[in-house]
């Protein structure tokens, strides 16, 4: 599974970073980006889906 944050849509709500810090981090402005080149380590798939389901800007996409 892979995740990707569309930086043109992210407005820094930080829901993904709060819910899945293993998969996302934030920069100095508070905007999010994916860790591990977007590769979701085994066992963290539900966390990735949770992050997607809580992004108010629909900025995160997932590839299964």
């Amino acid at each position: 599974m892979r995740v990707h944050v569309d930086s043109s849509k992210c407005q820094g709500h930080n829901r993904c970073y709060a819910l899945a810090p293993e998969l996302f981090d934030v920069d100095d402005l508070g905007n999010a980006f994916e860790l591990h080149d977007g590769n979701v380590p085994a066992g963290l798939e539900d966390k990735a889906r949770l992050a997607v389901a809580n992004c108010p800007e629909f900025a995160i996409s997932i590839e299964e």
Binding site: Q11, G12, D28, G30, A53, P56, E57
Partner: protein, 409 residues
């Protein structure tokens, strides 16, 4: 209940008044009735013409559409910006960057973002916790308390004052100014004018003092900051500090109060959170969704047809994020508060380029304030022998929240 200068509301679909006390006190019923009557967008001639769209789709659309809607003034008032003689012009507006439009908006926002990013805000947790414990210690062993007046209202004002670089002891006066700006929209202009003058005078002095004695706080930071090679004007610095007060105080006070009100009236949820404190962050998101405190506003740039209604240039358009959060087209059982709701794309902090700059701080304050309240008062209920009072205007939350403490630690 007192009316605004416009008098009593005759019909909520065609003559609503969001500044009247009965609006916030009955908000969910009013929206439900409007939608049931087939009115997804209400209108009023009050405040010079104002629209109230109620669906998630409409609120989304307006929040992202900076071409047809301007943020030049985000609090509906009796005067339009063009009627205020010394109003700062677009694209800056009176309280940048919330009142700014692109492309200036992005520059004014970028300088502030680092101060409110999660890694800058998270370390404030211990300080906020201590503040919350001190407020509860001050209550002594009283059985009856007011959680809005003795607790919720103090937390954000102390944090904002300390970040901005203003004396914490001035908290009461900040709150009184913010009250006039936000809650007094329907009061006479003669009553409101002296408050704006006092606020400007206070900030001028504070800025003067920071120029002479620079220190490590936001006012000094803003005085040194540059946008495209130019220092910010004093009006810009003062406007941004007004923004921090207006956006940072009543809003978070409301968010904390709404959460405590819910727990005082829903013992099952309260018990679940006392027994499972690790559920709190998710519960706070649900309180933010169901009781989102903030309704924003925009102005129509030019005559514009929107979902079948004819909006006129400089009409006000309210952006009721709390209504968007209760739209059944987007949320399952939207009127039920489900504290472990897993999918929660709520818009309590707005959407698009004006996402609440202080959302990380607000979330931290709400989480810590409710966590400490539940730790210290594991059992409490609404004290129905005293009056519960809701705020008026675009920020909704309890201003009197009488609570009976039934267990304390």
């Amino acid at each position: 209940m007192t009316d605004t200068v416009y008098g009593p509301v005759t019909d909520w679909a065609t003559d609503f008044d969001h500044g009247a006390p009965e609006y916030n006190a009955n908000i969910y019923k009013i929206w439900e009735d409007l939608k049931a009557a087939g009115c997804p967008i209400a209108h009023t001639e009050r405040y010079g013409g104002t629209w109230l769209p109620l669906t998630n789709e409409m609120v989304h659309e307006i929040a992202y559409d900076t071409e047809h809607f301007t943020s030049r003034s985000v609090v509906v008032g009796q005067l339009k910006p063009s009627e205020v003689p010394d109003a700062l012009p677009a694209p800056i507006g009176g309280a940048p960057p919330i009142t700014s439009d692109p492309p200036f908006h992005q520059e004014a926002r970028r300088i502030l973002l680092p101060a409110f990013a999660p890694k800058k805000i998270d370390p404030l947790r211990d300080e906020i916790r201590q503040m919350c414990h001190d407020l509860i210690d001050n209550m002594g062993d009283a059985e009856l308390i007011d959680a809005a007046e003795q607790y919720a209202q103090h937390i954000p004002v102390m944090i904002i004052a300390s970040m901005a670089g203003l004396p914490k002891e001035d908290g009461d006066i900040f709150r009184s100014w913010v009250h006039v700006i936000l809650a007094g929209i329907g009061e006479s202009r003669e009553e409101r004018e002296p408050v704006f003058l006092a606020l400007n005078e206070y900030l001028e002095k504070a800025i003067e003092d920071h120029i002479e004695n620079p220190r490590d706080d936001l006012i000094s930071f803003l005085l040194e900051a540059e946008i495209m090679g130019n220092k910010l004007s004093r009006e810009h610095v003062a406007g941004t500090i007004i923004l921090l007060m207006v956006a940072g105080i009543d809003t978070t006070w409301s968010g904390i109060g709404n959460s405590i009100w819910h727990l005082a009236t829903n013992p099952v949820d309260r018990r679940r959170l006392v027994e499972n404190p690790e559920m709190l962050p998710m519960a706070i998101e649900e309180f933010l969704r169901a009781y989102a405190p903030v309704t924003m506003a925009r102005l129509v740039k030019q005559d514009y047809e929107f979902h079948g209604v004819q909006m006129k240039e400089e009409d006000w358009v309210l952006l009721p994020f709390p209504a968007a959060n209760r739209d059944e087209a987007k949320f399952e059982n939207p009127d039920q508060v489900i504290i472990d709701r897993e999918e929660n794309r709520h818009a309590a902090f707005g959407l698009g380029i004006h996402r609440c700059l202080g959302s990380n701080l607000a979330r931290l304050e709400m989480n810590v304030a409710v966590e400490v309240f539940l730790e210290r008062f594991p059992d409490f209920e609404l004290n129905t022998s005293e009056e519960m009072v809701w705020s008026t205007g675009q920020v909704r939350g309890p201003r009197q929240l009488p609570i009976r403490i039934k267990a304390r630690k």
